[in-house]
Symmetry: D2
Subunit: 455 residues, 4 copies
């Protein structure tokens, strides 16, 4: 590799202490020559990350040669970019809290509210106007760049970008299937006495939409893992099963996999998302009330947990800036850097990706954002033909696909009444019509200042 091949990565939302730091760690673990332009609405955060990122070069394990630069404007960040990372937050902690808790007064409980549920619609309404602006800048300043989207709601964000700039080169990157892969890997280890089964060794066919995708084929070393999963599902349907017992009690991102087992036994496909994400896409089956949630052994996103994490991270800022602590090299969860390298020509990568549908999920409409395997190679991303969703999973899925289009249409037409239809049809929103209308008004009103686009 030649130093002249230095590429430019624009990172929109580059002040992040969460995905941002993980991304820096991954960048450091690969042979890569790049300039990373960090843009964040909060300039201070991107300046901080510039320092932290550049300090990482002093970590002796660092293999890459990356220069981090905080940008003053998105224009500056995007100009001539080869790769654009889109990973922006959707508002303050206070907003997140109200989006999750306001519906609870109406008996509507959400798990994450990120890609389904009433909170996800409010998020989309806040985020998409901003996305319109970024997309127009991309079209102007780096139309040939590859865009990797990580922001939720994934489908709505990607659809609006396609709408504004139909020729955009884009895919969505997500790690939401890794938890199921790790579970499968763990089962292989337990059952066959093999150790160190890596996530990458599990082969699968992925089919569905972001947040609600499935494995309809899964194997390890050529051996079908469906029977193995069935064995555990049947045995542990009642009580759940964890690789690390009772982890779900302390780690709100974890679960006892009861929802996976339940969905699998009912539909025959393995959910390729964490229980808490799948729950948001279903009717109130798993989220009817706090006690129901508890009985399914998973957790809602907890405000206290978020606060605690934020405090932990803030505490690391000074050490990381001063170099008394380094970000680690590698070890992250995401495949984002591998995807960038494949796009740059480092061999073929078969990975999961969200892409705009044109047959890869044969019974979802063209233009939907779908989640399948994809083949990433130099300047090319191509979805694998994943086949069809079974009828009953299709019925659960098509509602969300249409709801997502409705939300995007509402944003394009600047019409919050259109978005109300999506709100009303969300499977978790199951109360009488007048109550729903009231809740919608309250939720909009709580983020009023973020919705001037619609006035």
């Amino acid at each position: 590799m030649n130093k002249n091949d230095r590429i430019t990565i624009a990172y929109i939302g580059g002040g992040s202490m969460d995905f941002g730091w993980k991304f820096f760690s991954e960048l450091a673990a690969e042979e890569l020559y790049a300039t990373v332009n960090l843009y964040d609405r909060d300039k201070q955060l991107s300046l901080t990350n510039e320092v932290i990122g550049n300090k990482l070069r002093e970590n002796p394990e660092c293999k890459s040669d990356i220069i981090f630069l905080a940008s003053d404007s998105p224009e500056e960040a995007l100009k001539n970019a080869d790769i654009v990372i889109m990973s922006i937050s959707q508002g303050s902690l206070e907003e997140a809290v109200s989006e999750l808790t306001l519906p609870e007064a109406y008996g509507i409980y959400q798990s994450t509210g990120e890609q389904a549920g009433p909170a996800s619609i409010i998020r989309a309404l806040k985020t998409l106007p901003e996305y319109i602006q970024y997309t127009e800048l991309i079209k102007k300043y780096c139309p040939e760049a590859w865009i990797i989207n990580l922001t939720n709601p994934m489908s709505e964000c990607m659809q609006i970008m396609h709408h504004i700039f139909p020729e955009i080169k884009i895919f969505g990157s997500t790690n939401e299937l890794f938890q199921t892969l790790e579970l499968l890997g763990g089962l292989v280890e337990l059952e066959y006495g093999i150790s160190h089964v890596r996530r990458r060794d599990i082969k699968y066919n992925l089919i569905g939409i972001s947040g609600f995708s499935w494995f309809d084929k899964v194997s390890y070393n050529g051996e079908d893992l469906m029977p193995l999963f069935r064995k555990y599902a049947e045995k542990y349907y009642k009580n759940g099963f964890e690789l690390h017992q009772n982890e779900y009690k302390t780690n709100p991102l974890s679960s006892a996999n009861k929802i996976k087992f339940d969905l699998f036994l009912r539909y025959g496909l393995i959910p390729a998302v964490p229980d808490r994400i799948a729950a948001d896409f279903c009717p109130g089956w798993y989220l009817k009330s706090p006690s129901v949630i508890n009985s399914w052994k998973f957790s809602q996103t907890s405000v206290n947990y978020i606060k605690k994490i934020n405090i932990d991270r803030s505490g690391r800022v000074k050490p990381l800036m001063s170099g008394t602590e380094f970000l680690k090299v590698g070890g992250s969860y995401d495949d984002c850097v591998l995807q960038i390298r494949a796009l740059m020509g480092n061999g073929n990568l078969i990975t999961n990706a969200c892409t705009i549908n044109s047959g890869q999920v044969a019974n979802l409409p063209d233009g939907a954002i779908v989640s399948t395997n994809a083949l990433i190679s130099k300047n090319n991303v191509q979805a694998v033909a994943a086949g069809k969703l079974p009828d009953e999973i299709y019925a659960l899925t098509i509602r969300h696909v249409i709801n997502q289009s409705t939300v995007v249409k509402a944003v394009i037409e600047k019409d919050l009444d259109i978005a109300f239809n999506a709100f009303l049809n969300d499977p978790l929103v199951n109360t009488d019509l007048n109550s729903v209308a009231e809740l919608y008004k309250e939720m909009l009103s709580s983020v009023r200042q973020r919705l001037i686009y619609y006035c």
Copy 2:
């Protein structure tokens, strides 16, 4: 017309005092030479109706020449029939009561439970095995006959018949759109000072499924009625509107049309079914609780009302048998006899009908039972190409279409677990999974003796 053209009508469920008597009245009002074979599981009822029907000939207004004969077996009734009326009841009053009330303990309220809602699934599970038997007899004894189905759940009943005998000549006859047509007629009278606007003078395009169909075009004398309907919908959205004020308070089959207005304002199409039927197809928007139902100004099917009607009817049996009272001639609500006459060659009839989809509703799957206009002529029924459902109505509808297929599949495979999936996905069934499972078990258990087919 020639007396030699006497046709044979087999009436399965012919002991009915409800549709049966109305049907006899209609038969009497047209020039028709026919033998009507009455078959009923309860032989006594068909014998009674034989007498009542034959007495009708003594009514001086009677125009037809019909002989009613109670049959000992369905075989006897069906042999060489030209027309088969399928209109059977789905169990005792007690069963109907439990199907409507058991779910209420779980916070699930139904309006009629006839074509959607948990009760409709239990009904299908009870009714379809019987339908399989009848269809096999039709295939054997009158394969060329036209079958007119009136039994609910309409879609499931028709699908199983198609499954057993794919060449069957069949359509579903329903009057559920007449209420909306009468409302529209009433608006025309009010607005334009015209009197006696008949239902048949309203022209429309009908699109949807049985129980959840819509007008996307409607006119009177060439004039578009959509703006007129919009005017009333907007004006009376809050308080409702009735042609006969406050009728909804005393007549549980009536309503103040608030649901029609609400659905119209949201989706732009006019619901072609009574409010109470539409409510069953939606999430809990209108049926969340008794007070919500009340605020939408319609009623659930009331057990006392049914009882009262049954008592009224029973009281008429003796007078009708002895000839001290006659059934009236004509004046009924249904188009069934007109449809029979058109099939026999009395000119073309354009009417609504339920048919198996092969493009008439372009975005519902082939094989679904759909509700559109149809052209009935001699030995021919042909649906009109109704176009596409708008996306958001499609999203509400496709759930039911898939649920109906699931129920039919469950019956074919004799597997009540498959039917549970449909139960679980019914939009009104919105509680946690374990409660749903419990409710399903209870409901099945309450009709245990009717489900031996599945053992």
Copy 3:
């Protein structure tokens, strides 16, 4: 009927001595109050027809009250029209001759060249620019009018109108299925000893595209006529069969039905067009050479025949203008006036019509112009759901559907190279590529002055 209901019919191409006179005859046969605005590029012709039409009122059998007025401009003709008849010729006799004969030098024989074959493409290229202008005037001067198109190529003409004015109310009227209906009627008479079987008494399901449509169900008085047709097809496959023996030898519009029999025996559906029209849509099966044409017992459009007809008609002009001869009242072949009356509210009419596809032919693409039954009622035209074309007929048909779209695209983009692709893919155009290119150039060049739109 009230004289105040006088309607305005704009007749574009109103100088015609062919369809024009027939249309006048039909108008005279029905109770109708109308003003007919005649517009023709050749003003003299429309002035002549004004006189001839108005003279018809003096025919004592005339039932209508029609005023014919020659218009100076299409604007004048179209202003406030209720109905627009589009029936324009596509050029001089000389042009027609060259369009049919030029390809013969390349071994390409056409039967009519009106809707398929190289001549039809040249016709479309000449006609569609004019259609664009008329459509813009319709949009401006009578956007609520119903347009009845008779001009060929039917599909291309209708598609361009839809393209320019998507809300246009339009259907295509054609009599091309009447010949098959008359044949069927004749067979019924012969076989069952019934006399006077009228075309309207044959019931059918029509499916296909203009010029290449089929009956997949056909009955008389409820009796399936397919077996009867099969009997004749099998018996007369070799030698052909005519109701009037050897008519085909003198009447070039007639045939011995050998092509109908051949297509029926191969595909199982009855061609609903004359042999000579069907032949144009197939590969060279029936049109490979003059002797092949001869052996199939039908004729190409003959220049001498056209000339003779034109001379006959011209000879009648004076007598008709002076009133020494009247056009007859009624007796025409077309249903156009019945269609107009149905649109005006005189009851429902079930008739064949060309409409833009939205499911009525379930396996042809949306937006294609298809030929099916339709229901015409007051201010409404609705196609009947005709089902699917069988696979092998689909394969023959889809080529034309795509070719038609290509031609329309060529006109929209003013690009004669695009149209060459359609030319090249026409089934009759089967020679080597360079010869086809040469032929295309020659044909374009022969109508050069009509193609300035593309410069």
Copy 4:
């Protein structure tokens, strides 16, 4: 790799001196432990190949450890196979000659007649009955094996196997796109002064059907090659272009790429097959007559050429059996051995493959055999979502897809009349119907003894 991993490859048609010897060469070039069971209808040929194959082990460059065994029966060969190679010849040289030359008397010239054209239909009729037998044996003796089909007509062969054994694991392997890749590689070398551009370095999206597939995206090292191809196509459209000048004059498998250029300039996609194969799929554009063929600078399959090759090969048998000559190690054209290794778990392979469609070509019907990229990994083959064919290429393609289904249906129903419909609809078969019928009879009669299955 472990010697215990020895796999079993059944090679049906294993007596081949053509693909057989190339396959042996490839096997020798990879680290592979395998037993190859050679079955051939002509036992002598498989015995010869057993000796030649086993001698190859003495070639010092040989890397694999393969034992070749001639099998007495297909059962013996297939028993417990991991991989089955299907590569059978379709009859004698004499048959091949007559299949190509008989139609010439009717003015129908074919290039190869292997996958389209009248000869291909006769081949299918001969080959598919044999394929039915093999498939039943596969189902019985090695249902878990992966089948790699190389026999033409590819689509028909694969469809019948799917029909007989729907769960079959199968894909089609073809090298027909390599010639276009080499041309593209050569252009890169010429234009950019790079040397040794390997076929594998060209990245592409492949879409279409076997024998008629296309590149709609193609790049080298991330650079789009479409503009480069356009440059050559425009420059050399008239005279053609070859990497090795005038090779086409001596090598009948070669061409001056004029057809590729012509199709590309008309449709915008690069044909991914040799000119001579593409020509067979089009109407007579390039095959109208010997002089037309000549002017397009390609050749029909030449009988003399085949004879010469056969003589050359026969001459090598003795030296190869005695070990005075060895088959070379590697250097072959096909990817078959790489595909086998990938199936066995040696990493992911992205390669072209023919697979049964379920969305990978979004506008071809499910169940068609399509040609796209695919991802081969351990015990898994998955097509890449290739998108849609452009309308005009779709129109050329769908005819063949339907024709292929018709042929397969004819075989299933043992009905040669059904196959005649496919024959009649072949784009090259463009003469009058009676001549086509006569030709069909002649061709069937010339291979009468191979068609007893249909009696």
